[in-house]
Symmetry: D2
Subunit: 337 residues, 4 copies
């Protein structure tokens, strides 16, 4: 049913985008097309060793570049764009993380402003072994080292926002953006409401792995080769970003304070669960209260993210979400993973 | 090594406590003693059906009763009390949940005060099948029903606070209290700093299951028979509550806004991981940033709770926490589960 | 109408209280009695010069002592206690302020926890000239000095909380406590809901002056001689603390995050204005939205405080608050100021 | 010294702007030019009576229009733009306010999301008497009416943001925008950091009066004729918006939660006061802690605003801010008020 073309896109440096919105498309896609896209890391690939302090080698606002935007044919305001991530492959055999002055959850920041000096800026380089599926942490001050499970994710993915806006790629909000949740891994379908003609989606900021909350403000940052496919769901609107896997559905809230991100995600999930199952709203609220999980995405970006996640098996006889697009796209990309 | 006596305690109604602190002990324990204790549900057992609206059948401040306090011999300010939960068994074949006027995450409250009327107050009765290990959700407005996994937890457990205080059992804080995290299940050891002579711990508020955040403000509330054992760790202080299982360690932060609960838990975990492994502090911060999980406890109580959780297997060569008391108590209670 | 006895109370060191609740009364008062009470400063008078660092000369929990509690005859739960502050006089010719490790609005704290070291702890000594009405700021690192207006206030005043609780005097909440608002100056009447037989009010923590928010966490701390009178308003309950002056009424909200303190105060004020004027609730909401002021009290204590203040002259034909007790007590204390 | 041209601008409907950034200039100004500009009200003038419910007569994103942007010659990134408001005159003899579904401080919102229905949407029409200097409140449900002092302010004023962004005019942030503080009245100079060539400032959203916090989310909304003048301060950067009047200086923080807005404003003020006086930083922190005022702007917009305000007379021997531009522009506009 879905036509399928394979598009490959690898941006040159000048093509990298630093906003959602306000940019011309780099390519056009149709529903069902498969896109293989190279994404640069959040530092634009400029941090490669302990001496490359991000605040020195990077220059604002040239942080967190995304590849795109991609124009999706037939996507109009009021529709939903489904993006299925088929695979996310580290493009290099290393990743980096760092502290960054006045950025992160366990430091004062530009907004949680204090008179204290910043924490020391420091870079950690991780070795990535795709075969073994490991990410190697090496301490900087001692000899400690340990292998962590490789679990690649896309940190930043979104569409152009509405209202004639252009938003920095650092920001997560209703249009997606810098969501920074480990749940955005391969096998997942992301649903985003379309705000402008063509949707204009873009992505970047891969992480080889990331803890919940991204405490120090930086994951294990990697360039990736990501394979995905898209489908436009006509006439169905989506307010906040949503995710679907084979076993669960998730709503994403982006806000400060963190409890508002929790509220947004769970408010959206209660409505979604009610819609899929036919449960009355307070019944859905009750059920979600007992079976919902609430994985935190980030607690460092301009908006924090919290997810509301529910196992499909714990919802009574739910309809397929978005008329089964996740299963369709998953099937569609079999063999591409 | 640990002497062992089995103490059984079942409070009569007048013995139930509504504060941590300000109470005389109901029994005395020594390190290594095993306690089998009956805990009443958060409504004092008064909500038994749809007509028993909590705001009508319960009277403030007689909510969230705990059993205790228990005086632990040799526990002094500056020590740590380890409480190992060996088993938590629902005491009845039903549990209840409800909405409650202006309480919960998806409603305005006494503190997030708005001019809107409260949500409808409603009661849900759940059937509990201990053999099958299920908790049966039955919708109130439609015929939907579904079995949820039985996963009993203790919602409220703590010691007397310091500074001559007596705190409502509704409140979670450094002394423990109404932590409301599903991680407080059987097989877990809880560490609490001792503030007063004898520690004076108490517990109650069992849940047959609870979602992360306890969105509607109420879990599947049950009376329990709980078996636990305690050990005093002399001369070791603990600032915020901590948990340990066979595979992970966790720090608990209690605060508003929710990001401060996250910060507290992760600040504590960074220090704890550094202490157990010998990692320098920023190295520990970096590692926790990539491997930490941050399960939310509650987003409804006077303080919200967030945990920082780390798999022991992802820490490089850690020492046993608190000199291995978890393994010791786990061994000690084999056969009691 | 009001009988009047003059009671003088000066606590010896061992009589100072560190909680609201959990204490026996130091004296009994009747409505209309005048109390002259000595209050010690928040450091217990132990910080007298630059070398007296609070974290060294003070010992937890012996901070922020209050004088009392005072038992008020005829005060029962459900009543309101009106406390009119007739005068607040600095008891010494100096006051002190300081930074304090990890306490204050422009530093990370025990709850807004970061990995940064604390700000330097430092003491400032202020000269107080009661005749001139000035408080002299002298910089520590340069020769700058300037006279500030003397504007004495009581930082901590409250009644025993309900629910069998005893709360640290560091905490502001529904029972009053460490409100830390400059509006609690002489000429003001404070309304507090009574939670226990006798109300059990206490006070301390005078400031010679204090900025809105108490940014560094410490005002110009002074011992005071305070003259006040009380009246029990029978059968009228008060949920959150309220203030009245000759020209305005104010509601006080205590919470985190700061917007919840704002919400509480303004929610209370909308209801209060509606009650006094007969305005329908949304009409009152509309009017308060255009004429309300929202002075911040503290942004450093365990709960922050925000006030909702309205000029009586901007309310259409309001009834006197609490049947005119403010005017009555103001008249009653003429000549005592 | 300053050359002076008088420019008059009155936008036609299609020229109204709904973002800061992403627009072409409507006129060019030089430092010292005087601009007389018509600003439409936040509803685009479409709400004129009780039947004109905003959610029905207005269409997103066509809310909160601004007039501009104006290109200022010689303004470059890294400079500061000073905008002196000489006069703000209501353009009509009426203003309107309203509740708006799920918007405001005393209601749940799209972000503080709850399951409760919105408050009733209702419109209030105010009569404005420029001669008498009054704004007449008329209750909708009863006959209450009262005259409030006319105190016109500009709610929304800002420059284009940096980083290639275009931000909705609903949002306040470092670039200014929807600050919604009553302090932005005539006689005030606003300082904004320049982010793009020409600064590209715009303004709108006048209020005949507004309470602190703008509790219901809507002031007494008016169209205005505003007279202002500008000056570029070369080579001096400004991070957050600042204000100056004849007697005081103020820093503005925009953030959620509200305490972060407080922190930003006071962090900026401590640095500014230190710079103007030569006080060492902790000395400045101490002084601001005792003399600072913290007027709240809004508690309803996407970012809340809090100001840190200090009387110049309470700073020891301060230099003029920005080399005295406020006095210069004030003098420059004498006779235009």
């Amino acid at each position: 049913m879905i036509a399928m073309e394979k598009i490959t896109y690898r941006p040159v440096r000048d093509e990298l985008a630093y906003t959602f919105g306000g940019r011309l498309p780099v390519a056009h896609l149709h529903s069902g097309d498969v896109l293989e896209v190279f994404t640069e890391d959040c530092f634009g690939g400029l941090v490669r060793g302990p001496a490359d302090l991000p605040s020195q080698v990077c220059r604002m606002p040239y942080l967190n570049p995304v590849s795109g935007p991609f124009f999706v044919e037939d996507a109009e305001p009021g529709d939903t764009l489904a993006i299925h991530l088929a695979s996310i492959t580290p493009a290099r055999d290393w990743g980096v993380s760092s502290t960054f002055p006045h950025f992160g959850a366990l430091t004062s920041t530009s907004h949680t402003a204090t008179l204290q000096p910043p924490l020391e800026e420091r870079v950690w380089v991780y070795g990535i072994d795709r075969q073994a599926g490991t990410v190697r942490f090496q301490a900087t001050e001692t000899n400690h080292a340990i292998n962590l499970p490789l679990d690649p994710m896309i940190g930043t993915i979104g569409v152009a926002p509405g209202g004639f806006q252009a938003r920095s790629t650092i920001v997560p909000d209703t249009h997606g953006g810098n969501l920074d949740t480990p749940r955005l891994r391969a096998g997942t379908t992301l649903y985003l409401g379309v705000n402008v003609h063509g949707a204009m989606f873009a992505l970047g900021d891969g992480h080889a792995c990331q803890g919940e909350g991204e405490a120090c403000g930086v994951g294990v940052e990697i360039a990736t080769t990501t394979i995905l496919t898209v489908e436009v769901i006509k006439g169905v609107s989506t307010v906040w970003p949503r995710l679907e896997t084979d076993t669960s559905i998730m709503s994403i809230g982006c806000a400060r304070p963190l409890e508002d991100a929790y509220r947004i995600a769970h408010h959206d999930m209660v409505g979604w669960a009610s819609e899929l199952t036919g449960l009355e709203i307070l019944d859905a609220y009750q059920l979600i209260s007992q079976v919902g999980r609430a994985p935190i995405g980030n607690v460092c970006d301009p908006n924090y993210t919290v997810l509301a996640a529910v196992d499909k098996a714990l919802l009574p006889t739910p309809d397929p979400a978005y008329t089964g697009v996740h299963a369709r796209l998953r099937q569609h990309t079999t063999g591409l993973r």
